[in-house]
Symmetry: C2
Subunit: 313 residues, 2 copies
């Protein structure tokens, strides 16, 4: 099969799109703003119009495409139904059916954006060669995606892979966005890493370069930890301990071949994955063959790659 | 298909066997002792001889059977290879290939016993009607099995479903059999429940009927908790809190339809599952559709049922 297809990644600010060959070559990518007004009523129409325009420019008829895949910021059922997409203003509906209608009936498939990104990394990124992996995206929040036998695992309501909302910290008094207390996201996201450091700074008087940082963020903590700042190292170790613990729990459930670490925080590179691996391995002694813990590679393009792979199967 | 097949469950003391119809009817069951001497060299021969004898009695030729399935007490790779079976004295080998040879080449398949029991419960026990479930067996240890799309999920090295060795208790100083510290098994197995109660008894002077128990065990704790003994209730709540926490973590990874609670401890019935459900639901607020938490039904027969199902597919 040498048909081409489209990968679409709908975010709260912009919609990224790419034209792919079946072998994974990204031929062209472009983006348009996400118009969230009127309950996001224009988003799918804008996407369809943009695809038509781009395909016209390429001299490709819609019917020549194998289809379009789409990553959405929310839970998606296997049939494409969504209950809501808070960030887009969408209520219950079936965006993949709607987009297919807007594109002369070409096949459209969709999935949750974090899951779709995991699929993209498996296909053409840091997860090449693995069939079973779990991706963890360390950004403002902690996202996750589970890939089993090269397919996204959503679970019965799309909660599968929501690693960020595994309860992991006992006694946490602050509430998480999910209404839980002590979620992994609260200590291991970019926001979480900064929060752990801030709490350490408040707890004692130790000197630390972090005391000079205005609007302390995860990058400050990671940079200071790399430079050997003791308090920053302690903060990062705490975050990576909880991450390693959560992944060790996943290992006892799924025993995957690999974990992929992505998102803004993962720019810290192997300094970060080494720490996560240390705690994961300590806390999963029964798994004598250790899962690989590696960096994601596609960055913000993971979503369009995975969306294309949804269609290519 | 109305062919018959054999289900075999090899334990450290006895080998249970059953003759099944394809519709799940158990036509006959029997058992033989497990001869562990000489590195378990006689076990498969004994099984083959016993099956030949029983089939002769039934007037069924081996070639009329769809095959035989087998549950083994250890990790089993998808191709039937095992690295060891400590409880049977077995070293590396492929018992399913060997048993097939001993039974004139009829198909033989095998799996880990806890996984196979989970499959049996899905087929004909408490898990009927579910396609995706996680079974937790609360016995001397805590076993587990993951069923996805009606099939056993083993993971890359057979560690999939080893719920009992999820790290869950921080700061535990005693070592688990797996060489870890703070595994679920240490607080939620029959042994673990008694241990939690014993620690509470040592910690303070509160009156409790458990102070009179000789060789305090999980049944004492469960009975006393049902009767309203405050300390026993606290112990059981602690165990169920960790169980609920572990299952909530599984929910965020796999989002299964149901959890099946089996093993000796599960004789406490819905008193136990109600407590586990309470903590599971509290610690997984993002899963608005709650997984069912139900009792297993097949008891010690789950293994032979699941083993038969391995063959029936």
């Amino acid at each position: 099969m040498n048909q081409k297809c489209i990968g679409i990644d709908i975010g709260g600010t912009s919609v990224k799109m790419g034209l792919f060959q079946a072998d994974g070559t990204l031929l062209k990518k472009w983006e348009i703003p996400t118009r969230k007004e009127d309950g996001g009523a224009n988003i799918l129409g804008d996407i369809a119009a943009s695809i038509r325009r781009q395909m016209k420019g390429e001299g490709i008829a819609l019917t020549e495409l194998a289809g379009a895949g789409m990553g959405l910021p929310g839970p998606v059922l296997p049939n494409g139904h969504i209950e809501f997409c808070v960030n887009l203003g969408w209520k219950a509906g079936n965006p993949q059916e709607e987009l297919s209608r807007l594109l002369d009936g070409i096949p459209v498939k969709s999935g949750n954006d974090a899951n779709v990104a995991a699929l993209g990394e498996m296909w053409q990124g840091g997860g090449r060669g693995y069939k079973n992996l779990v991706m963890v995206t360390l950004g403002t929040g902690v996202g996750g995606g589970v890939i089993l036998n090269e397919k996204i695992w959503t679970g019965m309501q799309g909660v599968g892979g929501e690693i960020g909302h595994m309860h992991i910290v006992e006694g946490e008094k602050e509430q998480c966005n999910c209404h839980g207390y002590g979620c992994l996201e609260q200590v291991a996201s970019a926001t979480g890493i900064a929060r752990v450091a801030r709490r350490l700074l408040e707890k004692d008087e130790r000197p630390s370069v972090l005391r000079q940082a205005a609007n302390l963020n995860a990058k400050h903590v990671l940079d200071a930890a790399k430079a050997g700042d003791e308090l920053a190292l302690e903060a990062l170790n705490t975050s990576c301990y909880y991450l390693g613990w959560a992944l060790a729990a996943v290992t006892m459930v799924l025993d995957p071949e690999a974990y992929l670490i992505g998102g803004g925080v993962s720019r810290a590179g192997t300094f970060l994955t080494d720490l996560i691996r240390k705690y994961h391995n300590e806390l999963s002694p029964m798994a004598t063959k250790k899962a690989d813990i590696v960096l994601a590679e596609l960055g913000n393009d993971a979503g369009i790659y995975g969306a294309a792979k949804l269609i290519l199967g």
